[in-house]
Symmetry: C2
Subunit: 623 residues, 2 copies
């Protein structure tokens, strides 16, 4: 096997080529060479957002195996918030209060790879953000009004929904192709039966934006190839999804070598609309582990494969919806394919088949191949508003700018180091705005002050508003953003507090209504949190004391009656490993069994006022 | 009760006063007014650290109820790393691998308030950082060579070790005073017996830097007052610790009002050296729940109380060790006390007592009171290298600079908003360097792009190198840094990888030695992680497959043989809710019971190489 690309020599050669090509961008010369062509500002001034002003964009970055969403402001690259999605987070009580604890269902982590903002007419609409969990086979929706995770569901029959999330152009579907082939339902089967028993599956989920609830409309069963980054069509290609594959070799071991044998893998093209109609009113779907599953080979015209250079990492549809670009990974080229040519080719009758899937002729669908000299390891493609594509090069550590209609390479800039994905401002929409791109690097090396053997990742902010790209800053980040989407800040309309709602179940708004209700061994506290006290029982001698018996099931239904922006109260029970929060105007419940007798201080864990320190009470658990 | 300070009107009045006094620092005028006096740089240029350069300081900030340590670079204010301390963290596998899982002992969160870097001769030595857990009564040590948590122990007899961590000047002791009075051992006792049964306790822990292990040398039992921020003496006061108190009223309910009745609470002064000697060779310590406990009233000359303005939030010893400054919280003044005067006063025979503790005369120990007009809610004091003190003002949202030897107020600058603590560069040492102070604000309000009802906190970076303070930037931060220490970067010497050690238990370095050993229903995998594969069994047909029986206890002992900086491998088992990591050269063990039958992909969850995506295998669990 030609492994020269991945040897140390190959990597060093890549850096050398990049260094020679961009000698004027090496660190020592940066200050003078990186003045913006579009604005007469220093790099420092470009990213500095003074008090009283706000960032122009949100960057929503996946948090990888942290399981969380990382929210940044751009251009300052300041991280505004970690939004917990798949992993419990005591800083916000996520996974501790009853509602979110139930939503996580006992799971302790997630592996969130690719965020996708909901779209209307192919444009980010700023309403919801969808997240995949490669580790535990889930999909989540974050409500961008509150930045709270609104729903999470399990995805049966899958083995790591890595190759999502992407949405169709009006968010009709939230699509999640699997990465690892598994027997359906995860059943046991020897790897000797890989080709027969193992399957690749795509989940086509629907998200009801009013009820804030997911459902899986149907699943697509595919050959046990591994599916990698995928995308939905736009405009003329809006009925289609395109998915990259690797391991079309059906290897079951040592994938590094065995899944890299063939010179070509496939882009799989699926007509999601045809399959949706079949799922709705056809007869071909079978119910597997509770989910409607369709073999697209049974639905004529719904699936095709196009050969592509081996083991591509990603495929990205152009903003006009006319092309899809595959990034090579194991071949140092980007390949532009034409949807129009593909549609023409589909009409032809005689086609080769692979695993029963009709294969379109590469040379008839391919528009052009682009091979910038020395640019190694292309992983991902983003776009601007002028017909240009931007590719991350993992091995040669750079971004290459090129025109996808002419194939002309326009500019290259180094990144620090080894970028995986990149994210352009409004980059996945029908109208990217061509201002910024952020390289999400996989290695930081010695970029930042050392924090020991476990390094941060790094991100490069690059100004793409001029003809030449300008590297503006590098920022460290916790492990590990795999992908991000950058959205104009004014598209997101948040709510600042929870409005007072006296009909809300379990809520208590009037101090005198705070009460403790016992039902058998259940103790329900209808309590109030306010600056700067807890009121659990308005009629008691000590209003901030709760006494229960050992073994009681205790419910604290707490309402924060401070309807002021940013006045969140925490609620911790010392020595009981419990903590949750109530945001302004929110009602939230903590449920636990008082299985340990003794005296336990209760305190506000989120600094709320000048007398925050005094906001406390006691839980007494009688023997 | 005089609650006017904390009414909304009071708060608004405070802002108004601050706004009038510092009208030229309001946002619209910032750009022209905030040029540094010490360097001819714009604010933007002051904080911009270009690629190829590094920050000058580490800021180690507590992560509050996240339970973690937040590591920043200064002056860029870029967060370099979240270091997990008290809460599991799948991003680094903390709490998932066997060693760290045992260390957390099933606890799911912590409430980390006040970091303290180890000291030699009163100066940060950059070796370890100590962390308190107010939620679950623990103390932790982070090794600053690796930025890994090295040890955590439980603190029996305590109720939230809020008022620590602080260290004595050669790290002889890691001191942790309790916040909430509880019966010893947390036993049940009615709040009606508060004065008799509830105690305040200080833990005096020792940390063995070679073995990286804590022990509790002794505990000090005190009246059931609440102890707040405390400090150790320096130089001439090096044998002493000073602790603020509130609730000397012995209130048991509605603390906001009932613990704020008296005009004066106390600073408690304890001679830790005298008590250490008593603990070592005396007869007065009793063993309570396994810990030597001393009532300092039994050891003549070991404890005194000094009256102080009501409910102070903090007391901080000056760099020269000659004074201690209490910040008023409920009284708008800072009070400077003299150690020399206190020592003189201690020699006098007739003294009042409170709860058996000799009380020194306020007027004989107090050096001066400082009362800047309109400065409301002083919480915490930091120092520079020129004899100046800096106080955060929670209510009037500002930092006040004043000279602690003259009492003269020198400058004031607004903060955004409501600072709790502040942290000055090298600020807790015998030689602060007077360059920067960071205000750790409690409210961000509308400072940043909105992320819904739950806001980030904020931090202000302020240049204190000139006579006038200069507000340089504001940065958002996840909840919730309560305190931070800022240390010169060159004091921290990290290790970049784990050195190869063939004698390390469970390690495997040679690919051909990878093996699976079965002992009854235990399956031990001695495996290797390397770019870009897992090797579990060198002799098997598929070297990256592990097959076990349902119910087996499985141990993956993984060694990362890539001895290259920044090449960390993750190890996730799909659908099994498991993930951990092995850093370069590290050996780490995952232990779990294979209680679910089926086919489960194993994959590298931390992007490591061009073929990271192919770094995978399978766990098969037979029925």
């Amino acid at each position: 096997m030609k492994k020269f690309l991945f040897s140390l020599i190959g990597i060093l050669a890549g850096f050398l080529v990049a260094a020679l090509l961009f000698a004027d961008l090496t660190p020592g010369k940066k200050a003078t060479n990186e003045e913006s062509s579009s604005a007469n500002k220093s790099n420092a001034e470009k990213v500095y957002v003074p008090f009283g002003e706000k960032d122009e964009y949100y960057m929503m970055a996946s948090g990888g195996h942290s399981g969380q969403l990382f929210v940044y402001g751009l251009p300052s690259m300041r991280k505004i918030r970690t939004v917990p999605v798949f992993t419990p987070d005591p800083a916000t009580g996520y996974g501790f209060d009853k509602g979110t604890k139930n939503m996580l269902g006992g799971k302790t982590w997630g592996d969130f790879h690719h965020p996708s903002i909901s779209e209307t007419k192919g444009d980010y609409d700023g309403k919801f953000l969808f997240a995949n969990d490669v580790g535990n086979n889930r999909v989540a929706a974050v409500d961008l009004k509150t930045f709270h995770t609104a729903d999470i569901i399990d995805l049966p029959n899958m083995g790591g929904p890595h190759a999502g999330v992407f949405v169709t152009q009006n968010t009709e579907y939230v699509a999640l192709p699997t990465r690892f082939a598994r027997p359906l339902g995860g059943a046991y089967a020897s790897l000797d039966k890989y080709k027969e028993e193992y399957k690749g599956v795509v989940s086509m989920a629907k998200f009801d934006q009013k009820k804030k609830k997911f459902s899986i409309d149907y699943q697509i069963v595919l050959p046990p190839w591994s599916y990698d980054l995928s995308d939905a069509g736009k405009k003329m290609s809006g009925d289609w999804i395109v998915m990259t594959t690797y391991n079309t070799e059906f290897a079951t071991s040592n994938m590094e070598i065995n899944a890299s044998q063939k010179d070509r893998d496939y882009i799989v093209m699926v007509n999601w609309k045809k399959l949706a109609e079949e799922a709705k009113s056809g007869t071909k779907a079978k119910v597997v582990n509770g989910i409607k599953m369709i073999d697209p080979r049974d639905v004529k015209g719904s699936i095709y494969a196009v050969p592509v250079s081996k083991s591509p990492h990603g495929v990205d549809v152009t903003p006009d919806g006319e092309y899809f670009v595959a990034a090579g990974k194991l071949a140092p080229i980007m390949t532009v394919f034409s949807f129009e040519k593909a549609f023409d080719e589909m009409k032809k009758e005689t086609k080769k088949e692979e695993f029963g899937i009709p294969v379109l002729k590469y040379e008839n669908v391919m528009e052009r191949e682009v091979d910038p000299p020395g640019a190694l390891g292309p992983l991902h493609t983003q776009y601007d508003d002028k017909g240009n594509a931007y590719n991350t090069m993992f091995i040669s550590s750079e971004i290459v700018k090129w025109n996808y209609k002419t194939g002309k390479v326009i500019d290259r800039t180094p990144t620090y180091y080894s970028p995986g994905h990149a994210s352009a401002a409004e980059g996945d929409t029908v109208k990217p705005d061509g201002k910024w791109i952020v390289a999400l690097n996989k290695l930081a090396k010695d970029n930042f002050l050392s924090v020991g053997p476990s390094h941060p990742e790094s991100m490069d902010l690059i100004d793409i508003s001029g003809k030449k790209m300008k590297h503006v800053m590098t920022a460290p980040v916790d492990p590990e953003p795999h992908y991000a989407q950058i959205i104009k800040a004014d598209k997101i309309k948040t709510q600042k507090i929870y409005e007072k709602d006296e009909k809300r179940p379990f809520s208590t708004w009037n101090q005198k209504d705070a009460r403790i209700v016992r039902k058998g061994n259940e103790v329900h506290v209808y309590g109030i949190a306010m600056r700067s006290k807890f009121i659990f029982d308005a009629k008691a001698k000590r209003k901030d004391e709760v006494t229960v018996n050992k073994g009681d099931k205790v419910f604290f239904h707490m309402t924060n009656i401070d309807l002021d922006q940013d006045i969140t109260h925490g609620f911790a029970i010392n020595d009981y490993d419990l903590n949750f929060e109530v945001q302004p105007g929110q009602t939230n419940t903590l449920e636990f069994v008082a299985d340990k007798e003794g005296t336990f201080p209760i305190y506000c864990s989120n600094f709320c006022s000048a007398l925050h320190q005094e906001m406390s009470g006691y839980l007494l658990v009688k023997p």
